[in-house]
């Protein structure tokens, strides 16, 4: 190992540091689709409400099956309760990334996050 390290000259270490920094910076720079900023709640495709993801609050949408309860928190949002039979949108938990979406199909409700840049059409889990 030390025999190999002896092959490195002082400037080589600077190059390596630069390379590691470049690689390190490229990951957060290119692998985040930006910050989620707003939560959009739709019923039958129509926007019912839009909240910035800054303050914690709750919102209730009434669909054909009953009330869907949405919880907004700083930087994230989730479907807290839904009358649908299989609870897929509730089990999705917190949505944090832009364009992530939770669809409560039986109650015709969807919760999606939007960011400044739209890097994907949608994200589903």
């Amino acid at each position: 190992m030390s025999a190999w390290l002896a092959l490195l000259r002082p400037g080589d270490w600077a190059t390596l540091l630069l390379g590691v920094l470049t690689v390190g910076i490229s990951f957060p720079l290119l692998w985040t689709g930006g910050q989620a900023e707003r939560a959009v709640i739709r019923l039958d495709g129509k926007v019912m409400a839009e909240f910035p993801l800054t303050a914690a609050q709750r919102y209730t949408v009434t669909g054909p099956l009953g009330d869907t309860l949405i919880e907004i928190a700083p930087g994230r949002a989730r479907v807290l309760a839904d009358p649908g039979p299989r609870q897929y949108c509730v089990q999705q938990g917190w949505l944090t990334r832009p364009n992530a979406i939770a669809i409560c199909a039986p109650n015709h409700v969807s919760l999606s996050l939007s960011g400044r840049s739209t890097s994907h059409d949608s994200l589903n889990y």
């Binding site: 092959l7 490195l8 000259r9 400037g11 080589d12 190059t15 390596l16 470049t22 690689v23 490229s26």
Partner: protein, 171 residues
Amino acid sequence: MTVSTIDLPVTRDDRRIARYAAAAIALTLAEATLPSPLPGVKPGLANIIVLVVLVRHGWRDAAWVSLLRVLAGSLLVGQFLAPGFFLGLTGALASLAVLAVTARLPTRWFGPVTASVLAAFAHIGGQLVLARLWLVPHDGVFYLVPIFAASALVFGIVNGLIAAKLLKELP
């Protein structure tokens, strides 16, 4: 049989370049058999030869070896004039441009590892630009930059160290 009237004088330079190019082509072929997790992520072992030639015989010889390697290597694996050939050629040209600069750095401070790492970055950089302009006209290709950059760094270091060791130990 008619005696050929064409006489191609072969100089010592030609023979030396041919020998190095043959070694580089052999490494390219050996590498082509290795499975790759992602097109473009390759060790680039032939660049070890290019680095050795650059230090021993200068940039002109290194450029010959590198470009002969791209040409003959692509012919042998059946990729001549396929997209992969142009990607490799662009990468080789970009790294040769960078090597022209690194060859002027003071050798007391900068060794083959610096040349190798910078050339590896130039290699993927050139390929990505061509891929973005021609093959994937969408910014989605840049999503892969972190993987390419990380592999360029790792293989750049490894190839540079091997080249440095060869330069030290071979007569």
